[in-house]
């Protein structure tokens, strides 16, 4: 399995509090992604990064920010958590842009973080 870890693995927090999730990779892959997964929606892309300090929005980026100060770490921050952000969050990595050219690139996923916002 690819060297991807996520921390924490589980977190319960209250509405209005800030939350930061961490993704750490040992593969030196250029691209990193944050997804959320909810019943009935599959996986939805929140933000992604194409290099240190280079990030872009995905389809559900509202309420989330990201930072990448080192190749190996990609942080996802909920500035003021809401109950609608209760979800399972997955980090993923790839060597080239997922779905780009060459299209044969694949993503490798971390174990996930289960976040509950009360």
């Amino acid at each position: 399995d690819a060297g991807i870890t996520q921390s924490p693995r589980h977190k319960v927090t209250e509405t209005g509090t800030p939350v930061t999730l961490r993704c750490h990779q040992t593969e030196n892959h250029r691209y990193m992604y944050w997804y959320r997964q909810d019943p009935g929606h599959g996986l939805r892309l929140i933000h992604y990064s194409y290099g240190v300090k280079d990030t872009d929005k995905g389809e559900v980026s509202d309420g989330y920010s990201v930072s990448r100060s080192k190749t190996e770490d990609f942080l996802l921050t909920l500035e003021s958590a809401t109950s609608s952000q209760t979800s399972v969050y997955f980090c993923a990595i790839s060597e080239s842009i997922f779905g780009g050219s060459p299209s044969t690139d694949t993503q490798y996923f971390g174990p996930g973080t289960r976040l509950t916002v009360l």
Partner: protein, 109 residues
């Protein structure tokens, strides 16, 4: 971005071959077809990828007809451990791939 349609769920029994078909009518010339597998409480895992005709690896086979408007993931002799959600993705050429809701495969004894 090519949209995919696949069955929401499928049931099978151990030892049977399972075929999951995905429709992607507006697939582009540069698009590849990729399948991922996801077990409960885990992230998705790459299974197989193809462009046309047939691709086979140690886990599955992928059949793609000449018009490439659909594809079929074939799992030979499934076991209980193949119970998972299977995602069909189509894309490439600079577009980010998106995951749909997938097909929930349930394998029983």
């Amino acid at each position: 971005l090519a949209k995919t349609t696949q069955p929401i769920s499928m049931d099978s029994y151990e030892g049977q071959e399972v075929n999951i078909t995905c429709s992607h009518n507006n697939i582009a010339t540069n698009d590849y077809i990729t399948w991922y597998q996801q077990f409960p409480s885990q992230g998705p895992r790459f299974i197989i990828q193809g462009y046309k005709t047939k691709v086979t690896n140690e886990v599955a086979s992928l059949f793609i007809p000449a018009d490439r408007k659909s594809s079929t993931l074939s799992l030979p002799r499934v076991s209980l451990s193949d119970t998972a959600v299977y995602y069909c993705l189509v894309g490439g050429g600079g577009n980010k791939l998106t995951f749909g809701t997938g097909t929930q495969l349930k394998v029983e004894l």
